[in-house]
Symmetry: C2
Subunit: 380 residues, 2 copies
């Protein structure tokens, strides 16, 4: 294992043992973050590395001799927008297309690292709550690591997402309620069974995988972008990239400049946006949360403070779009750009359109994230 | 444009103009192949290239100033098989996972090149017959190039494949019969309308995209593999890689050694295998072709001679597997390896299992191809 610590995200004096399979800070229950004692990765070393996120392995929680549990995740393309950007009078707008990951979503990155560490540190079973894509990814990586997987998903999750998990041999339990309800049941099951719970921010490893999106942006653009627009459910994507940029400055790849981090949520379920607008440090659960965007139907969660901090520190924003605006933007990404966007990916374009309409200038280049393939959600 | 010729695959004395949008050889109707006058690509140059198949752009039919129509295709991972290979007493077995392409299949590679060239040489509309994945890819690249697309597909094609094409704005025409029937109607439409027909081997550009699978194998392994097992429908995959290895020897990346190229077809639809077994140079149409593997439901086609030639020159083989063997192998790839295999991908593992059972030794490393994501075929 790399020399590293697990540091509480609320109080850096709280440290946890990096050689034990960790969950949250034992002192205050806050998410733990991995801190590397020796941070060093030369860009020149990347030339001969595989086209996966493991090209940054010195900055991931594995030792030199460890074999990652990998399905080739990461190294996704950064696609320039053409017609759709021109129509807004913009150039230098890109889509980071996370649909081209194993199991078709950015969730693969986090699960690759989490399952790698869990396997190495002796986990014998894995469990998670999921709105769909996290469960598919966990099921695949669990299969690859020969670890049994159980996933708790809301009963109304589209069938193909459940089929996918079961196809990889996972046990899928349908529950009433939303993703955080599923999270509570998953946590109970983990306590009772000893399965390792890889729920969002309930362990420090998935963030490490997701941060590689930030590493890749810098490798692809040569520097940080001006603006990142990210659809926010649990919030790990934004938080993880914010951590990446901090590390990249430390290892000398970038300077002090940071992108404006813009969080997009659904009008019908926007706990982070509401807290951001109210100037609050943490978010309240949205009890009547409703949106057709499955990945954004996250009424609340443990990552709220970290998300809000990243948005504010970056001088970013948190905005909502309606389901209809997101769906229209998704269709435009398909029809005019050939990009396999979901509604969540469309939501980032809808947000960009709103900024342009309101005359809000955004630093360029602008990177939108398409977090998953739309295939799992047909027919619509 | 690169200095290049279009050479008839049956008679190298027949040359066609590389500056016109070409179809087949005007003298004998055989497929045309691109030949580069100046073949040069240093491996050292690849370090700074994007993680897409366009990293080999000097060996693709574009000029220095041309902008490829790209969605980030290629640079797919080469995944070692674990449990499933051990159970066969083998190591050094890999899966080249083409599911991780845009639109979820290897068809993206061919369409990226074909649409790039078609756009540059003045095509105003595109048409193709498809069993599903080629149509999805063409629809996406057509959208990206702002060219209208029409696809002819057999009426019983799974709904999600049609939804995907329509999602990218393509006009989908359902027809009775099989893929070659669709091909005849597409060709008629092309003649009548002036749309460019990108049917398999009816133009010389898709092969150029697909050959990058061979370039990537050599970059990933450091040399050619010992054996390649490929599911064969129209046959472009095998033929294209065979061309790649010839070019790679010319530019000094590899020596004279070649992998054994093994073609896998479905027991119920195996024109290439039948012709191979009979020692014939061309294949007869299978009139009663039947298989659940959509990509292999190709009763005949123009690529038969080239496919048979590549298999024989490589000292390879052509074998069949049953639908059930392929489906079982597919499930094993999901459950034991975490790989998103289709039945066509499973067919390559089923073939490998048959070789092991019969005691047929295969040169290592062995590379199986998973040509597409299974997501489009659920529920099964």
């Amino acid at each position: 294992m790399q020399p590293m610590n697990l540091e509480c995200s609320q109080d850096a004096r709280h440290r946890s043992d990096a050689e034990a399979l960790s969950t949250v800070c034992p002192h205050d229950g806050a998410p733990l973050l991995v801190r590397y004692a020796v941070a060093r990765l030369e860009r020149a070393a990347l030339a001969a590395r595989p086209w996966t996120m493991w090209r940054y392995r010195e900055m991931l929680p594995v030792g030199e001799g460890d074999e990652p549990v990998t399905l080739g995740e990461g190294a996704t393309p950064l696609l320039p927008l053409g017609h759709v950007a021109k129509a807004l009078g913009l150039d230098a707008v890109y889509v980071k297309d996370e649909a081209q990951n194993p199991t078709g979503s950015f969730k693969a990155r986090g699960m690759s690292v989490a399952v790698t560490v869990a396997k190495r540190l002796g986990a014998t079973a894995l469990v998670a709550p999921s709105a769909g894509n996290a469960g598919g990814a966990l099921a695949a990586y669990g299969a690859r690591a020969a670890l049994p997987v159980r996933v708790y998903v809301p009963r109304d999750t589209p069938a193909l997402l459940v089929d996918e998990m079961e196809g990889y041999g996972a046990e899928v339990i349908l529950i009433g309620g939303l993703i955080d309800d599923a999270g509570r049941i998953a946590a109970e099951y983990a306590r009772g069974s000893g399965a390792f719970n890889v729920a969002t921010f309930r362990e420090p490893y998935r963030v490490e995988g997701k941060k590689t999106m930030g590493y890749e942006l810098v490798e692809q653009l040569g520097d940080v972008p001006g603006t990142i627009i990210y659809p926010t459910g649990g919030g790990t994507g934004l938080v993880a990239m914010w951590k990446a940029f901090e590390e990249l400055e430390r290892i000398g790849w970038i300077g002090a400049a940071r992108p404006a981090m813009i969080s997009v949520q659904a009008e019908g379920c926007a706990p982070i946006v509401r807290a951001f607008q109210r100037g609050e440090q943490s978010a309240q659960r949205v009890d009547d949360g409703s949106t057709k965007m499955w990945g954004l139907r996250v009424p609340g969660g443990i990552g709220d403070r970290l998300s809000l901090r990243a948005i504010r520190e970056s001088r970013g924003r948190a905005v909502t779009v309606t389901d209809d605006e997101a769906a229209e933007a998704m269709r435009d990404m398909h029809r005019h750009e050939g990009i396999d966007a979901t509604e969540e990916g469309g939501a980032t374009l809808a947000a960009l359109r709103a900024f342009v309409k309101e005359g809000v200038p955004l630093p360029t280049p602008i990177v939108l994230f398409n977090t998953a393939t739309s295939l799992k959600y047909w027919p619509r």
